[in-house]
């Protein structure tokens, strides 16, 4: 006779391994005093151009570095290296998103205490990265003006997992008749209260206030850490 199966309670997060690694990374970033920022967006929204501009501006005053994820090629790392800051490419192969373990491995050989800002560019994908915590302090979701104002409504989960929306390619807004009011309304609908910044990596419009935003966030993180100690 086959015995009846027994029901046992488990209650474990499927991604607990990733969550544990992400928590450890977050702790490392805090201890080293580095502000870690990840970027998510659809392919072609201008993540790399945005990052190249940001790294170039920040490196005048800060110690910055970047990790950049892609399914294949080292093209983005080569592009970002032009900003003359340390850059490492993470090639994910068939994997459509970054995971905490990939970030941890990529950081091998870098001393985080030598950094003020660390940028982590995720694979261009508005679906899968939402499930994975990378230990970052802030997650930016980029929305380019060429994409359509309803993107937040189509991909609410990624917008909900992010902290700040960056509207990019502002120099093209008039050409593509970008409806900024509608875009902002849609962002607020899927993530009430979300902070929204807008800029153009090409013309530099919006970059100074973006840099100011980063500086303030870094100071705030550091003061919370000091209180924590």
């Amino acid at each position: 006779m086959i015995p009846e199966p027994r029901l046992v309670e488990v209650r474990k997060n499927v991604l607990k391994q990733n969550d544990v690694l992400a928590r450890a990374l977050r702790e490392r970033f805090r201890e080293a005093g580095v502000l870690a920022i990840s970027l998510v967006s659809s392919p072609g929204s201008g993540k790399t151009a945005f990052l190249e501009r940001t790294l170039t501006v920040l490196r005048a005053r800060y110690r910055v570095a970047a990790l950049v994820g892609d399914l294949a090629t080292e093209n983005d790392a080569a592009r970002l290296a032009r900003s003359q800051v340390p850059v490492k490419q993470i090639i994910t192969g068939a994997v459509c998103h970054l995971e905490a373990a990939m970030v941890q491995n990529a950081l091998d050989g870098w001393n985080l205490r030598d950094l003020d800002f660390l940028f982590i560019e995720n694979v261009g994908n508005l679906v899968c990265p939402s499930s994975y915590d990378l230990g970052e302090d802030l997650r930016f979701v980029l929305l380019s003006v060429t994409e359509g104002e309803d993107k937040p409504l189509k991909y609410p989960t990624i917008f909900n997992s992010a902290d700040v929306t960056i509207i990019t390619k502002l120099d093209l807004a008039a050409v593509v008749e970008f409806d900024e009011v509608a875009a902002k309304r849609n962002i607020q609908s899927v993530r009430p209260g979300m902070q929204i910044l807008k800029l153009s990596a090409k013309t530099g419009e919006g970059i100074p206030s973006f840099v100011e935003f980063l500086e303030k966030r870094r100071l705030r993180t550091q003061s919370t850490c000091a209180v924590g100690k």
């Binding site: 199966p5 488990v10 991604l15 499930s131 990624i158």
Partner: protein, 115 residues
């Protein structure tokens, strides 16, 4: 589509649990899934069968319980459901509410094991 890698994580987790409890087989894995987990139920069910192949879980069933988003409404001062995934507003009073209490679940809650 990352459901296959999620399914493989479920299989790993379930194998570990079954082994640590001295079970010889797994009949059912119960999963709680929130709309903000970023995982699609149908794709996960499809991937689960593939992920189970040639593992101790082959032939087991994945039972998914989809749970709703619950927010803390600052006006009602209570737990509330929302209008929709596209409109995170209190379903009762319509106030936009960013404070998500539940809805990100991707959790194995229970298993049926064979001795």
């Amino acid at each position: 589509m990352h459901e296959l890698s999620i399914a493989m994580s479920i299989v790993d987790l379930a194998c570990e649990e079954a082994e640590s409890r001295g079970a010889h087989g797994v009949e059912v894995v119960y999963l709680k899934l929130g709309p903000l987990s970023g995982v699609v139920k149908e794709a996960l069910l499809f991937s689960y069968e593939i992920a189970c192949q040639q593992t101790p879980l082959e032939g087991s069933k994945l039972l998914i319980e989809e749970v709703p988003i619950v927010v803390n409404c600052p006006v009602c001062r209570d737990r509330r459901s929302v209008q929709s995934l596209q409109s995170l507003c209190c379903a009762e009073c319509g106030t936009p509410t960013p404070e998500v209490l539940e809805g990100r679940e991707l959790m194995v809650t229970a298993m049926e094991l064979r001795a």
